[in-house]
Structure formats: C-alpha cells, structure tokens
C-alpha cells in the first residue's frame, strides 16, 4: 500500500475519525487472564520483624513481641505494627507467605537482579515484564511500572515506565512541551492523525522488509510500540497516571490500568514510612514503622480490588494476584548500631487470585537462619531450597503459563497455587 495523495485525501476523514475510536487492542479478548500487582520494598526488609516469627531462634526479634496466628498464618504480634495482624485476620485466607528464599548475595544491586529475574546475567527480562510480554500484543501497556526497579531485555516493548513523578502523563497530555523553556504547542489533531497514519504505514513496511537479526527486531518492536503509543494517547484523558501519593493511591492507578484491560501487570514501590527506607543498618525500629504502614496500605489495596468490577463478572480481586517482595532479608542479629546487616535469605507474600491462602511455606532454621527445605507439592518440609527462580516459576504458573518453557532450572511451588 502506498500513501498517495488521492488515497490519503479520500481516507483523511476516516483517519482523523479513527483517533476518536476505542483502540482495537482495548477490545481484544483478554478477559479471564490473571493479572498482577507487584509491591516492591527496596532496601531489604526483615521478615523476622513482621511475617516470619522465629522466636527462640538465633534471630533478634522485636522487643515484647509474640507469635500469633490468624487464618492459619503465623505472624509477629508487635505493638509497634498491629496492622500486620489486622491484615492477616482480614485477608489471611487469601494470603500465602513464602519463606527462606535465597538470593545468593548480600549486595543490593545483585540481589535486586536475582530476586526479580532469577539470574545475574544482564539482558534478562524480570518476572513482571515476562508475565506482561506473555499477554501477547493485546494490551496497550502490558506492564505499567509506576515506580520500582525494572530489568528489561528483549521484551522491553511491553514495558511502560511512568516515571518517578508520573512524567508519562506530561508526555501524554502535551504539557511536557508547553512547560518547556522553549514552549511549543501540540500539533492539530488532524495533522497528528495524518502523521501517525503515515508513520504506522512505514513502520509496518520496515518490519516486513527488515529481514533477520537486530534490524528486524527493532522494526517489529518499533511498529508495535508506535501502535501502542497511539492507543495510549487515545485513552490518556481517562487515566491519571501521575495521581496519588500514598502506596495504596499509587497502586490504585495501577489497578485502574488492570481494570481497564490496558495492563496485565503493574508495579509500585514502597520505600518505607516517611521514606526512611528498608535498609535499616542503623535503626531496626524503622522496620516496624515500615511494616505497619505497608500492611495498612495493603489492606486498602485489597479493599480497593474488591470494590472494582472485574472483566469476568466478579470483582478485580478475583483476577489479580498481589505480590509483595524485597530483594533481601536481614542478618538475624542486631549490630552494634542497633540495626541489622544484609542477609541472603528473604520472604515474599502472595495474596489474592489463584493463591492457596491461609498458609506459610518454607521457613528459617532456628539455629542457622537459613531457609529450610520445602516440598514443592504440599508446602511441607522437603529437600528443595527455595531460590528466586522458584518464585518466578510460581508466578508464571499463577499466570497460566508453563514455567518450564521459561525457567528450566526451577519448578513452581505448587502448594501455593489454588488450582494445583
């Protein structure tokens, strides 16, 4: 097809009108596909301070705290963080804790990459992006990253970073140009539609003619990205991507994207109470404040999920799995500064759709504070030492994919899956 004057003039009204229609991919049938909200806690949380009660072990525990159980989940009952107990009382039947996941390092950067990709090799896609890419081309922004770390390799065209202050919104509404030091106005809608149409035509042609290798990859990816960009622009006024301040409010922006079918995966970062971080080398008490706020906010998120209609008749809570994680744990003993150093074992929390709730899988050895072996099938003690790949495989299985195709070195924790 050529972009001739006659053809273009004839098509012109249709081209312009098309911009006002709902993008085709928004009508695509993605209903029923499991969606994910990741809440990432960077810096290294201390499971022993809230979700892994290891009283009587080598681990230093919060002063005055006790072990308590709600809906089959054992947690740390600490007066400094009552929201933890409230959360498991309200949502424990849908929650599963995974303990003793070894991230094989004590360096933040390395652990981040390992816990999110299972590999220390550059160029790997992380779990959220892998899940998003497996959703195919049917979503506008398959993985919307509102904040938090990302590792993007071949599937980067499925990732949409919003920016730490919601900058994507300024690109979408054009204020990024109006507010520039050399301010410019957006082109007329008719001109934009013409430009987009000819560009799309050329991108398709480039992709078809690119042959093999990088040129083909880039051309195909450019064509898909441009198509998604155009669709995103067309629905931008229905979204407030820069909205919200608190964790639950920012997560709400992600849930809006999931609810509208724009995204399969969203991530939001939680950097701790008052931004004090989870990296508590010098103030272990901050872990309590962080967990208190985290679980308060998680309760709000789950309430929000239940209030939103789903795409299959129920609520969004029936379709979304919430994944809460941190790149590392903390050394069992307090240091001389009243904090805790890094530790190579950590925990993760799965809540919601597809999760067999009311259980904790794995644990920490009371004398060594290493992860205890797990039986992947029933969740009891076994001989499998959990590592990030097991987490990744479990997430893929939750997403309805065969983990073996993508993660050959680890099987999913079937015991965590409702349908297994």
């Amino acid at each position: 097809m050529r972009f001739t004057r006659r053809g273009l003039l004839r098509a012109f009204p249709a081209l312009v009108g098309a911009a006002a229609l709902v993008p085709a991919r928004l009508r695509a049938d993605t209903a029923g596909e499991r969606k994910f909200l990741f809440v990432f806690c960077p810096g290294g949380w201390d499971p022993a301070w809230a979700i892994a009660p290891v009283f009587g072990s080598v681990a230093a525990m919060p002063e005055g705290a006790t072990s308590a159980t709600a809906n089959g989940i054992e947690y740390v009952n600490d007066r400094m963080s009552p929201a933890v107990g409230t959360f498991f009382q309200d949502w424990g039947t849908r929650a599963c804790l995974l303990h003793g996941i070894e991230s094989r390092s004590v360096a933040h950067d390395v652990c981040l990459r390992l816990i999110l990709t299972g590999s220390n090799l550059p160029g790997s896609d992380d779990w959220p992006l892998t899940l998003a890419a497996l959703s195919g081309e049917s979503r506008v922004m398959p993985y919307v990253n509102l904040s938090g770390p990302t590792y993007a390799g071949p599937a980067v065209s499925s990732l949409v970073r919003v920016g730490e202050n919601g900058q994507l919104a300024a690109l979408l509404d054009g204020s990024a140009l109006a507010n520039a030091e050399l301010p410019q106005r957006l082109p007329r809608a008719e001109r934009s539609a013409l430009t987009d149409a000819l560009l799309a035509l050329r991108l398709e042609r480039l992709a078809a003619e690119a042959g093999a290798g990088r040129a083909a990859e880039i051309a195909a990816s450019a064509s898909l990205s441009e198509s998604r960009r155009a669709d995103l622009v067309s629905v931008a006024d229905q979204l407030d991507l820069a909205g919200g301040v608190s964790l639950s409010e920012r997560a709400g922006v992600g849930l809006e994207c999931l609810q509208r079918g724009l995204s399969r995966v969203a991530m939001v970062e939680y950097i701790g109470f008052l931004g004090l971080t989870w990296d508590t080398h010098g103030a272990q008490v901050n872990q309590a404040g962080n967990f208190e706020e985290l679980f308060t906010e998680l309760s709000l998120i789950l309430t929000d999920l239940k209030a939103r209609p789903g795409t299959t008749g129920g609520t969004l809570a029936d379709e979304v799995t919430v994944v809460v994680m941190s790149e590392m744990g903390r050394f069992p003993r307090l240091n001389s500064r009243g904090g805790k150093e890094h530790w190579t074992y950590t925990s993760a929390l799965l809540v919601g759709a597809g999760v067999r709730g009311g259980q904790s899988i794995g644990g920490y050895h009371p004398e060594t504070y290493r992860g205890v072996g797990v039986n992947l099938a029933d969740g009891g003690e076994g001989d499998v030492a959990l590592n990030p790949s097991h987490l990744g495989a479990t997430l893929l299985a939750l997403g309805g994919h065969d983990p073996a195709e993508y993660i050959p070195d680890a099987e999913p924790i079937l015991a965590a899956l409702e349908d297994a």
Binding site: L9, S105, L159, V160, L168, Q184, L206, E341
Partner: protein, 548 residues
Amino acid sequence: MPYLALIAACSVAPDDTDAVVAASAPVPLAVVPLDDAALLRRLSLDLRGQLPTSEEHAALAGGELSLAEAAEAYLLDDAFESRFADLVAEQWLTRIDEFNVGASDFRLHESLDRSLVEDVGNEAPVFLAAVAAGDLPWTDAVLADWTMTTDLLESVWPVESIDGPASTLEGWHRGRYTDGRPRGGVVMTNGLWWRYWSAPNNYNRTRAAAIGRLLLCDDWLTRPIHVDPAQALDVSSLEDAVSTQTTCVGCHDTLDPVAASLFGFWWFDLYDPLEMRSYHAEREQLGEHYFDARQAWFGKAMEGPVDLGPRIAADPRFMRCTVERMAHALWRRETTDADFTTITALEADFAAGQYRMRPLLRALTQTPEYRAGGWAEGATVDTAVRTRRVMQPSQLAAAVEALTGYRWRQEGYDQLSNDEIGFRVLAGGVDGLGVAIADESPSVSRALVVQRLAQAASQYVAEQELGKPASERALFTLVAEGDKPGSEGWLAQVELLHLRAWGVRPTATDLEEEVAFAEAVHAGAETEAEAWAAVLELLLRDPRFWTY
C-alpha cells in the same frame, strides 16, 4: 567474560599459549558491513554524538572524504569529549538525580540544586573524558593529580582552578583538590564516592567493589555468597565472620585491604556536607584498625591511599578492562568469551598507541563487530550482534539539537538527562540506580518521548527559520516561500532533510508519500511552517532517524 578466558589462559603452561589462543580464535562473523553512508552516520553518532553534516555526506559520496578520514575528524571533533563522557557515564552510573546533600546544605540557593547534582555526577566522566580528549595515557585516569571542576563545585568543595588545556565542555576546567588527598585520578574524586557511598557497617566495601567492577571488570559482588551461618552466628559479630570464616575469606581477603585504602573518604555522618566535601587524611589508617588488616592491592602491600592509583595502573586487568568497556560501549553489547582474541588484539592496539584512548577507539571502529550492518545470506543470525543500534537519550538530544537548534529544557533541567521531571529513563536511558542498563529496543514510553521531542523540535526550527532569508537558515536552506509540495524547491528541501536526518536520499516512494502527506497537511495548515514541521516530525519519529 573474556576475563574468565584470560584466567584460563593464565592457568596453562607458557608453551601452550599459542594453542590456547588458537583454540579460542573466534569464528568469523558472517555479517555484511554497513554501506559507507550508514557507517559514516554510525561513526559520527558514536564518536561525537551527532549526525554527519550534508557536506560530509556529499564529500563521502564524491570521494573527497574517506571513512578513515571521517573517523579521524570525529575523534578530533570538539563534541568528542562530551560524547566520551556520555559513554563513560552510561557504564559508571554516576549521573544520578540525588545525592545525600544538596545545594541548600552548602547555603546555596535551592535553584542551584539541579546544577550541583549534574556537576557532581559529571565529575568522574568529565575527568575521564579530559584524559581521553587530551591524548593522555590512560594510566592518568588513576594517577593524575588533577580533576575537572566547575565554578559551582569550587564553591562547595575544596578544589581550585589550575592551568591546563581548555575543555570543550562548557563550564568545565581543570582543577586540583586542596585538602591534601593523594593523587589518584578518578579514584580520588568526590564525584565518584558521593555516588558510591558506604553505609557505616559496610566499611567502604561497596566502594572497593566499585573499583573492581569499573576498573578491573572483576566484580566481587557478583560472586555467590556461601555463608555458613552456624559459624557466623558463633562469632561476636558479622564483621568478625568475614575474616574468620573460610567461606568469606576468599573474597574479603582481597576486598577488605582495598576498602581499607579508602578511609580518607570515610564519613562519620552520611548526610553532613562538611564530612562529605573534604578528604580526611587523618582517617587514612582507620580502615586498618577496623579490618585489622593492612591496606593492600590483591596481596601487594600499600603504604597508604597514595599507592592505590599506581597499583591499579600497574594491574594488567586495568587496561584489559578498559578495552572491554570501550568495546561494550561501541559494540553496544557485553563482551563474552567468544571475543577473547579480538579483545586481545585490541589490547595490543591500545598498548601500541601508548594507552591513548583515540587509537583504541579507532581500532574498535574497524572491527567487524562494529561495522556489522546485516547478515550474509544463509548465515546463522545472532541478534546479540548489534547490526543496528538505538540512539541513547544523550545522542537523541544532541542529534536533534544539531539538526534543529532545539534543546528540550524545563526549569533548568535537560529533559533527556534527568528523571526527576524529565524523560531519560522513559527514553530508554539509565538513571544510575533503578535502571542500570540502557534499553536497546524501542518501547512505548520511548515512542512517546521521541514523538514529543520531534514535534517540539520540528515546530521550533520551522518557525525560527522559515520567516528568514534562506542565507540565514541552517536547515531549511533550499525552500523558498510559496514552494508547493512537489515543486522543485520543495523536493530539493525534502531530499536535504532526508540526507541530514536519515543519512540517505529519499526513494521515489518516500517522495510520493511525502508529497501527498504535505498536501494534506498543507490543506489544513495555518502556516507554511506547520506543513514543514509535519514533514520533519515524520522523519524524526521514523526509526531510520533514531537508529543507526
């Protein structure tokens, strides 16, 4: 990593060296090199961050300019220094958006916050770029007794201007710290250690690991941890465990003595500007007290931090790593064991050039990996080979500015070099913290950034130029007022735009489409400038502009 192969080579008897080299000889790449015009574009974008001029394209096509001459000219171009700093910054990750202290901590107006962040983040890359652009031996990177500074940095750090070669980077000049720190090039700069700071109980190990990773391509942090908790919990603290547990000693025996040499940069308060601004010579021996170990470089004792730079400079891994890092920068991929022989040959070129950066870069641009443009028929395609590259945000900003005069700034921020209010990561770049590897493929957010940049720059240059006489224009030099789409003048101008933006002349199909497109836009346009802006926007959003 080639370094692994180097270790393997080191472990065989000397007489077997030839056999090792032969065994690791790479299979020739079945790649088709870029054509001359495309290679000119790649050289220009890689070595000076800008597109070739139309005169350069014409000279190449006319045989008055060879690719070798062009590469040489680009290496000597004023923009080379800035481009080299960008390449370094992408790997050293020093250009972050926030440090522990800001301008107001030094009683400066908060409006200087961004400038201070930029200057601090740029000190290390700009210094290394000055070594490269000054044709100084790369050992100066860790031996020099000077740094690069700005007036702003001089107002907050103990550093003063000194005489030296002029920098092509605006606002930057040579300086020297006045706080008694030893010479040591980049490892004695505040900028590096403000980025890689140490938590109190980390005792500078993070910093030592940064030295290993950045200067030796040997990263302690990526080694698997084999802690025996039973032992670790038996000793009074984890600090003791690292020097007593056999599983820890393997790394810490070499890591800690390097960390011990960095205590002149030790801060008792991580957020105290007075602590952070100065080197603390009186703390140089503090690390030996903490570690109960002498300062040393992989088993070779150091008298103090004054020996750190010389030890690095004398370590053969330093130059090898420099070659690997530059290969990564220009090949746009990690080097692997398969590159062993090529890297070795490049290292020889580097040595033959007295370890000056330009000869190394020249040699790198002559490798098949660099010049790859496609695959031979029937060849097994390896998508890791970057037959096509995506412009990084700094290249995009520079290329668009060179073409249109438009630089995207807001509130003093360069919008393609920050993530606080800007779009660096959204455009595929690195922020130095959460995103440490640049995207090598298009994405939705990148498409949006490119769209808005193309719209702004096109509108700006069209409105700026088209009201002026042709002789006063830089880009729209061939079109006259009233030239309609398809007219001779119009077509000549479009050809020029194609050549400048894409590096090739338009095909007949391109022209036919663009005439139709321009007529349609023109029909609804309020001004001629708008129609031209639309044509230029179209070209700038096309991958043939932002890939190379």
